[in-house]
């Protein structure tokens, strides 16, 4: 870990970084793997794999529950990861970090424990048109239960949010604004800081879905001043099945539990149960301990790569891909926001994205072809689906070139 630390800080060395990701070395259909499905999930560096291994080989025990040495080690590793995540997002207080199964569960937790008890008939939750299904459906569920309604701020043809239109929808009955930091389907970066300021000026709390931002942008929840920030470990080089919810302490303290079970209680009798303090109140049952440890290792890894250098590198890849794809006749890029990160989505003539995906896969290029859990975005642009290439710190200019070459192949095959 330290070796990477010192080298990478001097110079962003992508070859050196790639060596940390053994999976990238393989061949797919006889060609070198070009992994461009990172917005879906990223590959895992050796440091994360070793942390998982080490945990199971040396420290495995249940946490917070036993007074033997292994349990102490496991608890330390788990709580150590909480502190790493706190530092990563610059939360004030380590108790403001709740471990969840992922971004989806983090949003559901807020929907059920924060929103639902407060919502009355005709109250409103404000979203944008570019949200992922996991930042739509949990709100629909609480709306159904309470008689509240969703309001949706439009996006432009370029995939940008008009801040004024969003602000105009912040009304007396708006109880929460829930917005993506970065769109997974379009790559648009939303002006989250400004949105929070506008919402707070009207007394409205804000949840930020940071699933696509945390791997790419520096996240400082105190600077953003958002009330909740949700993200997943597996999209930032950590294991699947683990994520985090940041919530402001005062809000979390006032929220009822999400699920009942072990660890989330202070005392239980059949007459009365008192709940544990934050964050344990929201972590019922034995959590994904190894996953959390791996998440902590992933955060350490990412920080060691020098986030500013990562950002510059990924931005160059996105620019290169956008420019080269735009030169292909009949190719239409979906999502041309001024500020974008990590993702280029496109459709190619009348060739269905699914067919494009199959051709690319045959060339060793892994992308996602589909609706990206963002059906309203597809409908907005009148496309059944898109092809999406998404970048990570280990991608190279050659990866982009391979993608573009493979798209030209589609043209050969389908004779567009």
């Amino acid at each position: 870990m330290n070796a990477i630390n010192s080298t990478v800080r001097l110079q962003f060395d992508v070859d050196r970084l790639r060596a940390e990701f053994p999976i990238l070395r393989q061949q797919i259909h006889g060609r070198p793997l070009v992994y461009l499905d990172n917005a879906n999930t990223t590959q895992k560096p050796r440091a994360v794999l070793e942390a998982l291994n080490h945990y199971y080989l040396e420290s495995n025990a249940n946490i917070h529950r036993a007074n033997h040495l292994l349990s102490e080690r496991a608890t330390q590793a788990y709580e150590g990861a909480r502190e790493k995540v706190r530092r990563f997002i610059n939360a004030r207080d380590v108790e403001e970090v709740i471990f969840t199964r992922g971004c989806t569960e983090a949003i559901n937790l807020v929907a059920q424990s924060f929103a639902r008890p407060r919502l009355r008939e005709d109250d409103e939750i404000l979203l944008t048109h570019l949200e992922h299904h996991s930042n739509i459906v949990p709100w629909q569920i609480v709306c159904e239960a309470t008689g509240a309604r969703l309001r949706v701020a439009p996006i432009s043809d370029r995939g940008e949010l008009d801040l004024e239109q969003l602000v105009a929808l912040m009304q007396e009955r708006t109880r929460l604004v829930a917005i993506a930091h970065v769109s997974n389907a379009l790559g648009t970066v939303l002006p989250v800081g400004e949105i929070v300021r506008e919402a707070h000026a009207r007394g409205i709390p804000v949840l930020v879905d940071g699933a696509q931002a945390a791997p790419h942008l520096p996240v400082d929840v105190q600077a953003l001043d958002c009330d909740f920030y949700a993200f997943s470990g597996h999209k930032l080089y950590g294991p699947t099945g683990v994520g985090a919810l940041y919530g402001k302490r005062a809000l979390l303290d006032a929220m009822p539990p999400y699920q009942g079970g072990g660890s989330m209680i202070a005392s239980v009798s059949f007459e009365k149960t008192t709940y544990n303090t934050v964050p344990y109140r929201f972590e019922a049952g034995t959590p994904n301990i190894a996953g959390v440890v791996g998440f902590g290792a992933a955060v350490d890894f990412l920080i060691s790569c020098d986030l500013d250098a990562v950002r510059v590198h990924e931005h160059e890849l996105l620019g290169r891909a956008t420019q080269q794809l735009a030169e292909i006749p009949d190719l239409r890029i979906i999502g041309e926001a001024h500020e974008k990160c990590g993702v280029v989505s496109f459709v190619y003539d009348d060739v269905h994205p699914h067919d494009v995906g199959t051709v690319l896969d045959q060339e060793g290029v892994a992308v996602r072809a589909g609706q990206h859990c963002a059906q309203p975005v597809m409908d907005r642009y009148g496309v059944p689906a898109t092809v999406r290439a998404s970048f990570a710190l280990y991608n190279t200019a050659e990866d982009v070139d391979a993608l573009v070459r493979a798209v030209w192949r589609v043209r050969d095959l389908f004779g567009a």
Binding site: H29, V351, H352, P353, H354, D355, T358, V359, Q362, A369, G370, Q371, Q375, M378, P384, A385, R409, D412, L413, F414, G415
Partner: protein, 150 residues
């Protein structure tokens, strides 16, 4: 590229570009909607019946080359067939696109054998069979629910 040609045979590309029996059938005796949520494919199959036989069949909707060509070629194959004939044909077709040892149904399936390449692409099996599932739903049920491949 040559492997891809096995999947995307000329006949398939041709039916994709110029689907046969494409567009609504009015009036129709039966109609069913098929949906593959994985890729967003959605198609409607219309059937006019003559007793238990399919007198006419058309489809409309959007989908990938495999699903569109499969629907197009299906409509050509099933006209005039009885419900039982169609069920048997679907079973052979399903075998063709899924079973590793398939290949001896040639006579029976006729030109549908161009879809044999699909079996090398497990994620595309649903594309090839969507129209068939939808046709079956249309034939089995007088008021069919939308079928999905999930």
């Amino acid at each position: 590229m040559s492997e891809l040609r096995d999947l995307y045979q000329e006949v398939i590309l041709d039916h994709n570009k110029r689907p046969r029996n494409f567009g609504a059938l009015e009036p129709a005796d039966r109609r069913a909607i098929g949906h593959n949520p994985l890729c967003g494919d959605k198609l409607t199959v219309y059937v006019r019946l003559d007793g238990t036989r399919v007198a006419d069949v058309r489809f409309e909707g959007q989908g990938c080359a495999i699903s569109k060509a499969s629907a197009s070629m299906m409509t050509e194959m099933v006209k005039g067939l009885s419900r039982d004939d169609i069920a048997a044909l679907f079973e052979s077709f399903h075998h063709l696109v899924t079973a590793p040892d398939a290949g001896d149904e040639g006579d029976h399936l006729g030109k549908l054998t161009v879809f044999a390449g699909v079996r090398e692409y497990p994620t595309r099996v649903k594309c090839a069979t969507l129209s068939w599932h939808t046709l079956r739903a249309a034939l089995e049920d007088e008021a069919p629910q939308p079928v999905t491949t999930e």
